[in-house]
């Protein structure tokens, strides 16, 4: 059977992708950030999962405002890279896993998670920056990817608890698939940040560190953080952290932290990263 072996939480700040694409990772501003991901790249190379479910949000690229799905699962064979306004990132096309995605959709809908099925869509920095951080710059991504796009752009995003429960249903879906596959799940976005209005630049390091701690110590508490608390305490865009709870839910009750990294800033963001292994 397929098994979710690990979860990866990471910010997906577009400036991190731009630093990789423009060869700036050795500049003093970026050195501490990319150094923080070196152990993760090594871990990923050694772990070499077959499939990555990447929970991310689209930033008005695949989805304009005609249709705003709360949860959308990418079921296509491949996903082209979006031009977000400055040209598409020079990264490989993302290859999907339509067979497993189709199975997940059926399992999830029957489990009462009525998600949107997307057969064709472009993917943006929300999905590709985490891949760059964990895989570097390969000519082809060495993993097949199932994108799960979550609406966090138009308020309200799904609640933390809804995301956590969806994660549990994803575990059940994956583990009822016949192939022996080693699957990892990414929860991306966050941590504290606000990129709008006179309050832009807000960072709340204690909030972020408590969130990282809670992923192993008390994920149920994290799942109860109300939307207003994210907005007020950690910035309007920190609501992206609900996506980490999908990842956490998919790991089962016990998860072991094997690596953590935190750094302020990348552009306007408190960058957090964690690797959790499922029991």
């Amino acid at each position: 059977m397929a098994k979710i072996i690990a979860g990866i939480g990471t910010s997906h700040t577009p400036a991190l992708g731009a630093a990789v694409d423009n060869g700036k990772t050795a500049e003093p501003y970026w050195v501490p950030l990319f150094k923080g991901y070196e152990p993760s790249k090594k871990w990923m190379a050694e772990t070499a999962p077959d499939v990555a479910i990447v929970v991310y949000n689209d930033h008005v690229n695949a989805f304009d405002f005609k249709i705003i799905p709360t949860f959308a699962l990418g079921c296509g064979a491949e996903f082209p890279i979006a031009d977000e306004g400055w040209g598409a990132r020079p990264v490989p096309v993302v290859k999907g896993y339509p067979e497993l995605a189709a199975h997940m959709v059926q399992s999830l809908v029957l489990d009462e998670f009525d998600l949107t099925i997307v057969n064709e869509m472009q993917v943006d920095h929300g999905l590709t920056v985490p891949l760059s951080l964990l895989y570097g710059q390969p000519t082809a991504w060495p993993v097949r990817v199932i994108p799960l796009a979550v609406n966090v752009v138009q308020y309200p995003a799904p609640t933390g608890n809804r995301c956590y429960q969806l994660g549990k249903a994803i575990k059940k879906a994956v583990e009822s698939w016949h192939e022996d596959l080693r699957v990892v799940i990414f929860g991306t976005g966050g941590m504290s940040h606000q990129i709008q209005g006179p309050r832009a630049g807000l960072i709340n390091t204690p909030f972020d560190k408590a969130f990282l701690d809670g992923l192993t110590r008390d994920p149920e508490r994290l799942a109860r953080i109300p939307p207003l608390e994210y907005l007020r305490d950690a910035g309007a865009e920190a609501i992206e952290l609900v996506m980490w709870l999908i990842m956490r839910g998919a790991l089962g009750d016990d998860a072991r932290e094997i690596y953590r990294f935190y750094h302020v800033p990348a552009s306007s963001t408190g960058v957090g990263h964690i690797i959790l292994e499922a029991a």
Binding site: P14, A15, H59, V60, N61, D64, F65, A82, D83, E84, G85, W86, G87, V153, Q154, Y155, P156, S192, Q194, I195, Q196, G197, P198, R199, A200, G201, L202, I203, N204, T205, F207, L228, L231, R232, D233, A234, G235, A236, E237, V264, P265, S267, S268, G270
Partner: protein, 137 residues
């Protein structure tokens, strides 16, 4: 018995967060065509056409006069207030060959270098910025 107007809970709690326009369904409704304009800037040919004659390009979108003026003036906070969402608005900054950080510094009302310094020093503390009453105190 019907409710009196003041008994309806239609003023959202997050309106109390200072310096922030939460992009909720009502704001999204008002900003629908404005955001469609930003979305159009994902195509290189549209970016070129817009930059060649901004007012003419904007005629394609049924936006309000206030929204049009805010685009032409790059009045970033007005764009938020009038229904733009930052992820879409930033496509206008990218079209101008500017960064997210540039746009954020303008919204915050500081120079880009001061903004970068603030971020390098750990960012803006939430203390004093959690609510409008706390902001005034």
């Amino acid at each position: 018995m019907s409710k009196k107007p003041e008994e309806f809970e239609d003023v959202p709690e997050y309106d109390d967060i200072p310096g922030t326009w939460v992009f909720d369904a009502q704001r999204a409704r008002k900003g629908y065509h404005l955001n469609a304009f930003f979305y159009s800037l994902m195509k290189a040919e549209n970016r070129a056409e817009f930059l060649a004659d901004e007012p003419k390009y904007l005629e394609k979108f049924p936006i309000t006069d206030a929204q049009r003026d805010a685009v032409l003036k790059r009045d970033w906070n007005a764009l938020l207030e009038l229904g733009g969402v930052s992820y879409a608005i930033v496509k206008l900054a990218f079209t101008d060959k500017k960064s997210y950080q540039h746009m954020a510094s303008k919204m915050a009302g500081v120079t880009e270098s001061d903004y970068v310094k603030m971020m390098l020093a750990g960012g803006r503390s939430p203390d004093g910025w959690r609510s409008k009453s706390e902001r005034k105190a």
